[in-house]
Subunit: 389 residues, 2 copies
């Protein structure tokens, strides 16, 4: 059979790299071969070519529009994913803090609410930064986010509080911002790799937002940073070293990345083009408000179906902390779980197996997963419970 760049809509709930809209992929496929009619693909031109620069600038403009990013903040891109973000954030914001505080080495505060924030804290510690864990829900298997009033107060001399706004593996998500909890001058840093562009956020409240593209909005290999411009200020390398502040690899040095419009370390421009197309489509379809409505509806009907059979399905994460992106659940009768996966696949519902560290099931209902696909899963969830209760 001749292969084409058209496809039927898959029903896929993988956690990442994850589903992308078929029309975006189709256009990107054409762009890969012939971008502007001169028989060259978007991946074959210099990152300093004006067409490449326009892709970068358009993507930044789309993100600014969708997230209503204020003038106080700057958008830039880096290669990597969350793992590179963990180190680059600690290096750069510690350098900025020292620069503003006569060389004082800051402390870094971490909210450990799942596997990803735990790794972020580990990485900062590993690189020699002094971290304070202000909340750690490991003992309750990351099934809740306690109220801020129960968190340990942040110590003096802290540069930032780091949170993973959505924990992909454990399926919890922050529903508000620790405004009252945060001491004056401590910046809020959020990893939004698995929920960026899924809901409205107030960017002005964040010092830094970091988001790998490969879950909700793109391919692996590109990470979005949205930073408060004042956090870009850094003393010279020599000065930082004299203060005992570790330097990042130059490819991770935010001021250098921003000065070079994200091209210092050759940007994967094809990956950026996909992000451009995804953000264009979101704008065209009504912006964050519309996608948020759909996402909330999807989460509501799926959690609703699971809750309808409390003796059959188990939702470990407390309701107020549940993720709208990654719906994590198990069966009370764990022996039935392989059968659940098998029968789901027979109905063309794929990617439902939970993360290997957690087990059970996980339905990731990112932006590209349609309401229709979610409804199909809802029907199956009900039917499977009815048939096996």
């Amino acid at each position: 059979m001749e292969r084409t760049i058209d496809r039927e809509q898959p029903h896929y709930f993988g956690a990442g790299p994850a589903l992308l809209p078929a029309d975006v992929l189709k256009e990107a496929a054409l762009d890969l071969v012939n971008y502007s009619g001169d028989n060259l693909g978007i991946g074959e031109i210099s990152h300093r070519d004006k067409r490449a620069v326009k892709v970068i600038d358009d993507t930044k403009a789309n993100l600014s529009k969708l997230l209503d990013i204020p003038e106080t903040h700057e958008v830039f891109f880096m290669q990597g994913g969350g793992t590179t973000g963990f180190s680059s954030i600690a290096y750069n914001l510690a350098a900025n803090y020292a620069t503003k505080n006569n060389g004082e080495t800051p402390k870094l505060a971490y909210a450990v609410t799942g596997g990803w924030s735990q790794k972020a804290n580990e990485e900062a510690k590993r690189l020699g930064f002094q971290t304070q864990v202000v909340v750690n829900t490991k003992d309750i298997k990351y099934t809740d986010i306690p109220p801020y009033s129960e968190w340990t107060p942040i110590e003096k001399g802290t540069a930032y509080l780091y949170v993973a706004d959505n924990e992909t593996v454990h399926g919890n998500e922050f529903k508000d911002i620790p405004t009252d909890y945060l001491p004056e001058g401590v910046e809020l840093v959020a990893d939004m790799s698995s929920n960026i562009l899924s809901k409205k956020i107030d960017v002005s409240k964040y010092g830094l937002i970091m988001a790998g593209a490969q879950k909700n909005i793109g391919l692996a290999g590109l990470t979005i940073y949205i930073i408060k411009k004042s956090l870009l200020e850094q003393a010279s390398d020599d000065q930082l070293v004299s203060w005992g502040i570790a330097l990042p690899p130059i490819a991770f040095h935010y001021p250098t990345v921003v000065k070079n419009n994200s091209t210092y370390n050759t940007i994967p421009i094809f990956t950026c083009q996909i992000l451009k197309l995804v953000t264009e489509k979101l704008i065209k379809e009504g912006g964050i408000e519309e996608i948020q409505k759909t996402n909330e509806k999807k989460a509501e009907i799926l959690y609703g179906a699971l809750e309808k059979y409390p003796n059959f399905y188990k939702l470990a994460v407390k309701e107020k902390a549940r993720s709208n992106m990654n719906v994590v659940f198990t069966l009370h009768n764990a022996e039935l779980e392989p059968e659940f996966i098998k029968q789901a696949e027979a109905q063309q519902l794929f990617g439902l197996k939970g993360h290997r560290s957690v087990g059970g099931m996980r339905a990731s209902i990112y932006n590209a997963v349609t309401l229709e696909t979610t409804e199909k899963l809802v029907d199956f969830v009900k039917q499977f419970a009815e048939n096996n209760s």
Copy 2:
């Protein structure tokens, strides 16, 4: 006009990101939308999915076959490009040296033969490593590679000698290996970002080969590392820190990357798929031997044409050091250069402008640039000289 994934062969000499074979791009375009017939693209599945793992393993196997990589060496991939390689090499090989030498901090030797090796040396120094520049051809504008007998001897306690095997901007290339020059125990490290898979190499002679994919063989965003397995050994982080050895970000830590089959920091699997297809095609078409013959032929006829008009074209790089990949030249009458570019473009010959730091012209004749395209340029080079002499 309806867009398709077929295209006419472009005549494009850009230095990177650069031309890729149209049949590879076409297949990759299809893979982006529907990889294995289940309506999911290769970029939408988990990097731990067995299909993704197979892409990684197949790409490694293809590279091993093409370059005849011995059992003593390991292939792995990282995000980034040369710029991330500069730091990751210094961090990891210094750690390995200290591990093998009771915590002794090594010196690192650099051959500065162009803009890229100069940047590599700068980055190692910036991160606090003690470097020795054993040769520096900046004064002669990187137009020659002096014989090893004229290089400064490498000091005791040195971990490696770093060379840029091909300097993309300045157009020079190593034609042999410093076998006699290298003291016992000092590893040879080569940046082959712009000539990997263009010619036969003896991998066993290298401690480490690093090559960004975006010039000769792929898209931006993936870097190939071929490392001697014994160089992967590293003491614990704590031990290294106690010796005063700087730790890299965990995403740059070679033992961790290798242990996780290059997926620790989510690998951009679509970019890897393109590399797989490019290497598959090279194998099918006769391997390195065949492509090397074609590349040598291309360089021969292009340099030959330029040399035929010594009063018109200027080849600054000495013959014995000329790159077979990046042919850098100027016109004696520099005022004619814009006209050269303009008339070339009128004949559908694109991407010939020299790097902004060097000026003049540069014809990059990477693997994907056909002999036919090179012949077209040769004809133009002759015709332009005849018409304007």
